[in-house]
Amino acid sequence: MAARRLRQGGRIDRGKPLGFTWNGRAMTGYQGDTLASALLANNERVVGRSFKYHRPRGVTSAGVEECGALVTVGAGARRDPNVRATSQELYEGLAAGGQNAWPSVRFDAGGINNLFSRFLVAGFYYKTFMGMPPFEWGRGTGWWMRYEKLIRKAAGMGTASREPDPDHYEHAHEYCDVLVVGSGPAGLAAARTAAEAGLDVILAEQDGEPGGSYLAWGDDDERVTAIQAVQSLGVRIMTRTTAFGLYDYSVAGLHERVTDHLSAPSPHLPRHRLWTLRARHTIVAAGALERHLAFGDNDRPGVMNASAAGVYLNRYGILPGANIVVATNNDSAYATAASLARAGAAVTLLDARTGVPGAVTGVATEHGVGIRFGCAPMQARGAKGVRALRTAIARDGAWQPGPTELCDLVLVSAGWSPVVNLLSHRGVKPVWDAGNDCFLPADTTEPVSVAGSAAGVWGHEHCVVSGQAAGARAARALGKCSPRFTPPPAGGWQEPLRPLYEIRMPGRKLKSFVDIQHDVTTEDVRLAHREGFVSVEHLKRYTTLGMATDQGKMGNIIGLALMAEARGVDIPDVGTTTFRPPYTPVSLGALRGRSVGTHFKPLRRTPMHEWNLQHGAVMTEAGLWRRPWYFPRRGESLSQAYVREATTVRSAVGLCDVTSLGKIAVQGPDAAEFLNRVYSNAFAKLPVGKARYGIMLRDDGIVMDDGTTWRLSEADFLMTTTTAHAAQTMAWLEELLQTRWPDLKVHVTSVSEQWGGVAVAGPRSRDVLQECVADPSKVDNDALPFMGVVETTLKEDVLCRIARISFSGERAYEVYFPADYATGVMDRLWESAESMGGCLYGLEALGTLRVEKGHVTHAELDGRMTIDDAGLGKMASTKKAYIGKVLKRRPELTREDRPRLVGILPKNRDEKFNAGAVICAENAISGHGEGWVTAVTHSPELGHWIGIGYVNGGYEHWEGGGLVAADPVRKGNTAIEVVSPQMVDPDGERMRG
């Protein structure tokens, strides 16, 4: 018999029993329980198996520092591993189980590791399996690679579900004047003082209930009064919300667990929320964590933090043991011992100190606690639950064996560590306080204050004053009037504690754990020292001390103390590792928020999106857009469809949604001058009513983007860009205007969303337009010649802009119209085009048409090529200055043997070859070869496969032949010829006609 639920007391609601299962067994707890308290109440002692040795572990704490009771909650897609049972609120129907054990945590086959634990010291696996004699003799990692999987399997934690997460998560943003982290006595006082000064305050509490240490120790009326006070002042209290990180500019990361405590949460609620909170000042009142002590088998189920037992008694109405030994080095455990004795347990208290005044012992002795000074725990007995404790007695400055105490619970209090993590995130190193035996937050210029036991202030009343002082300080820092409080100094024990980290005796081999969660023992720390890993950073990485979910909350200081002892220096000289966010684990779902599934990135729709789908489009991704890929007729494959579509464009007419091209309004009296500097070709004298194809370069002389720009009036241009580089081009133009040429009177504004765009291409394109515009004469060959631009109206009075430009090489137009009219415009154009034997065409046919013409896209303009490489060098002006002009003349960029754009034909016209193939000389098929294929298509016009790509020196250089398209992993080698990229209608007669 050990732990049991008391008939009364605590904050649980005995009128609301909650059924849950542990390893499939039905159990009962109460509303207000955590999973850990419910397991204790059911006297479930072994709830976990350790990381490396598979040693049985029980509940060691009552908070986020838990390092024993790591369990798996939920099943199937909702299986959540490594949940700290101490932080998991109980709900009806909760299903939890042990992890890292087979068949169960009580009987675990992996426990065999414990028998070999003297071999499994820090670094064992690496030392053994890397360079393993006699196979590898100190070199190589072959054995490691072979066995790593098995080794990893033997050690470990719970396993996550491999199914998609059925829950949703979200991000949230909030602002306030003061963020108070922690709602204990200090946090509540700080929030109240700051709010009384007129500040907007948010109080974040990781627990399900505000109150902090009030919940177990304080006067509940005082707690309720304090909470009501802050609420009436408008303080916003966020429960189940952990401030897990503090970042630049006073940004705090908060992780809110919205539904983890509910048995049937609303489907509309996210499971977790990730808050980005911007406060002007942050007050950290996150409390302190009780430390344990390294002694023999100090990880046995039934060894627990002293304060945790107080929490289980006072908050959860559980007496966690019948025969209890409390081991302490400070005053704080006396109250716990007294309350446990009062609740009916037999309690013995071992105080490592030689004696303390009656003022400290008074309450404990009153309730019958037996107190022994100069005593400490040496070794716990009992594998699956403590049965006895062998004690140690201080004699002549050393520890000697003492009597064995029969007990079922050992409580340990070896001092307190303020939670300085958030300040550490800001790069503020904590300072060692030898008197209080802990790291304290250092002074900082950051807008952060620390209050209460997080600042090393121990007493309840002192914590309240400390909180008031921090609140007032924050108020004054933010320009408010607030009364002055004198913050109490760190400390507050009546009798100083005796620093104590490990009990060891010469000649006795004890397995004493420093970091219980990661199975790091005192011997591991000393081994690290012997092997030269003396820096704390090395110590951490070599032994894994301070890693995993608790991040060294329990064990770090012991590890530092042991290293300090081994090195013969003081603890501050050993240093401390930097705490990094998150303070407690944050779910990956919360980090992703709503950016999952179809909303992984926003989908951008053209105004003809639905129209295209209704007309049979198969869509493909183009950046954030979906664009029609092809429009299959019944039974048609992709290749049948695109060949038909391309053929129809060349013989009749086709319509293609080109809305996704970037569209930028360039306006102002200096717009022409601006474009003339941006584009490599001349734009200054572009007449009104004309469009021009332009290529812009980067500063380094490489092609950035291309497109046509239309002059609508003297001071008004419409620039089009490629789909892929629309946003980049817009940003580039803004950058130029704002940083290089602020004197130019030019505004650039994206109008991509304002206009829908459709290409009407093919010999019958003019006929289609003449049927659709209000005044057909506006689009005849004289009014709208090749590269002409006209603003007119369609028959429904819809204003439109038409430019006669051609990507297909046919007579073609781009028609732009206000986006909301897309459906009507497309209906009219399609009715007309269809009657002329036309088609709708998608990206695949568009690709075919442009490959036949040798027109470039970003497959060719890939950020490496010059304008000459792309075969467009003659367009660049020799007379004016433009961006990229100077650096494009670099020797390396003007070499004759650079790759040049070419058309590619298979030597045997019946053969096919692939985009991405490497072009090699047939007698030297290796390495990067002589070039590459950027795009291929089956050309309906030529009746065979063609492609474009780059070949060193251009097609003229290879007129003698001798090239192959090498494609070793897909197709093998195909003999090819390289020709001029303009493979169809090289003189461009069709588009001009």
Binding site: S266, R594, P602, R605, S752, Q754, L799, P818
Partner: protein, 191 residues
Amino acid sequence: MGSECVAERESALKGHYKTGRFGETGEPGVKLTEVPVSVLHQIAAWPDTVEAVGAMAAQAVGGETASGPGSVVVGPKGAQLRIEPLKWWLYGVEAPDVAPEEGATLDLSHARTQIRATGPQARECLNRLIPLDLREESFPVDSAAATAMHHVGITLWRSREGYELFLPRGFAVSLWEVLFDTATQFGLEVE
């Protein structure tokens, strides 16, 4: 331009926008309404014509000049939103004629989809997606800001009626879906 057209305008949300009551029951915390944009023009000034163009913008809506970036003035004819130091949006009114030496105007009537968010939890709901300080004193009625929502740049105006979201037309459906999903937890009414 748009108003005299015979053709009918079609919302970007067509087929995706359904009125009704969604999500949590009880009094709806959030109401969302699509407000059809009739006219929206941009008017831009040069550094030396800010006053003159500001006056034109004021005259167009029949009110004061919007004093600085982020401010909004509502007049009897429409609203002017100072969206950038040198740019205003004229909402609900046609743009005046502006000579190139003075500034430039641009029709954006079809470029944005307008959603109005109202209700007691509208601010809370928007802050799930928008990283702006929307507290009363920081973002009072007649404030405007360029901000971001689910990876997309948007314009937000707090009007007398509620929060007016101007979503780029092509992203409107995607943003509507995310906004809708977010709003259901507060109890959502789509009007």
